[in-house]
Amino acid sequence: SQQGEEDPQALSIQEGENATMNCSYKTSINNLQWYRQNSGRGLVHLILIRSNEREKHSGRLRVTLDTSKKSSSLLITASRAADTASYFCATPRSGGSYIPTFGRGTSLIVHP
């Protein structure tokens, strides 16, 4: 089954720095999503990027998608302590499937 894998597994930065997380996947996709999970909580959808898009912005978030390399990146600019969370990428299980599969996530810690 399709599965994205995030890299790095853990990231520790200082407040104000940028945080970059990457996601690699194996087969062709029609969209890729990023989610955030605060400790002990459910996941929250951040952004969806379609296969015909190369870059998308939402506030301090910037997502890129390179279908030729089968990879995506999530950039959080000017990070804040409140950004501390785990971040997951999700890809459809197969082309057109409505069921996403999730990677293991990147654990981000932003130190104040």
Binding site: N31, Q33, Y35, G40, R41, G42, L43, V44, H45, L48, R50, F88, A90, P92, Y98, I99, P100, T101, F102, G103, R104, G105, S107
Partner: protein, 118 residues
């Protein structure tokens, strides 16, 4: 607006005891429903999904089962819990169709149930 509820929030159960976790969705109809399990520091493992009342697809044929007795109700059950069933259980829903790009395949998660089997 749509909301999703899960209960209980936490649960401690002895090995061999039964389990029933409930998930309900409000503010939408005909949702796709999902049960996930998340082990500590791990990703999400899809357990079951449902596209309609009484329609359940199983991803992990173990000692867990799921039922959808009503359109917006999804129940996760077990007759006898194992130690390995401990984890964080998440229910999620997604819409069937949408004209809005942001909701295509987007999933909305409940707050989760922390299950500890002793």
């Amino acid at each position: 607006s749509q909301t999703i509820h899960q209960w209980p929030a936490t649960l401690v159960q002895p090995v061999g005891s039964p389990l029933s976790l409930e998930c309900t969705v409000e503010g939408t109809s005909n949702p796709n429903l999902y049960w996930y399990r998340q082990a500590a520091g791990r990703g999400l493992q899809l357990l079951f999904y449902s596209v309609g009342i009484g329609q359940i697809s199983s991803e992990v044929p173990q000692n867990l089962s799921a039922s959808r007795p009503q359109d917006r109700q999804f129940i996760l059950s077990s007759k006898k819990l194992l130690l390995s069933d401990s984890g964080f259980y998440l229910c999620a829903w997604s819409g069937r169709t949408s004209g809005r790009a942001g909701s295509y395949n987007e999933q909305f998660f409940g707050p989760g149930t922390r299950l500890t089997v002793l």
